[in-house]
């Protein structure tokens, strides 16, 4: 049984409720993983998958 480090120290993962939230933004896709002990949030990890950016260099004419 795996131990998860939380605000209350290491807790067995079977005692925690896990929620995964995914959101998409113009610059990134975000996945948040939340762990609850009862109603209390005891851990929140976030993965931000950054999206690239085109610098769009402009060139004027003579």
């Amino acid at each position: 049984m795996a131990l998860i480090y939380t605000t209350k120290g290491d807790i067995e993962d079977a005692l925690l409720e896990k929620k995964v939230i995914t959101e998409d933004y113009p610059d990134a896709t975000v996945t948040a993983t939340e762990y609850f002990l009862g109603d209390e949030l005891v851990k929140r990890d976030v993965n931000v998958a950054l999206k690239g950016r085109d610098l769009n260099m402009a060139q004027a004419s003579f």
């Binding site: 933004y25 949030l41 851990k43 990890d45 931000v48 610098l55």
Partner: protein, 138 residues
């Protein structure tokens, strides 16, 4: 084939490479209430997050990739994900700035929606380093 008015890809590669290639960099996080953006020129602590196991200035960026060229596109991406380990950042933040540590000159600002971290890890996953997906493309 006709002539085409254009900026040389070599100019783009040289411009980007002169700033990015081999440069020591760090990535700092900023509160959702901050006002970071294109007019910023250097790293500063105004609006920077604070919390358990977060050090002002952020974390080092692994920068083993040199600016590359495919066709008419010059591009670059950090060579590893940027990770803030075992942090608690209770006040909402939504931006990261990458900057060069030699002179604090900024590379750019990326915004990703307000987040908090509780006794956890924030991972900024880099896109594929190619001419279609790289973090910076020109």
């Amino acid at each position: 084939m006709a002539n085409a008015q254009s900026v040389s890809v070599q100019f783009k590669a040289d411009s980007m490479g002169g700033i990015l290639n081999g440069a020591a960099q760090k990535a700092a996080l900023y509160l959702a209430s901050a006002s970071k953006g294109a007019t910023d020129t250097v790293y500063n602590t105004t609006g920077e997050v604070s919390g358990t196991n977060y050090t002002a200035g952020g974390v080092a960026v692994t920068n083993a990739n040199s600016v590359a060229v495919t066709g008419s596109t010059a591009y670059w991406t950090p060579s590893a994900n940027i990770v803030y380990t075992n942090v608690t950042l209770a006040t909402a933040f939504d931006a990261v700035q990458i900057y060069r540590t030699s002179d604090s000159h900024l590379v750019g600002t990326w915004v990703f929606g307000a987040q908090t971290i509780t006794a956890g890890t924030l991972t900024l996953t880099m896109p594929t380093n190619d001419s279609s997906n790289a973090l910076l493309r020109c």
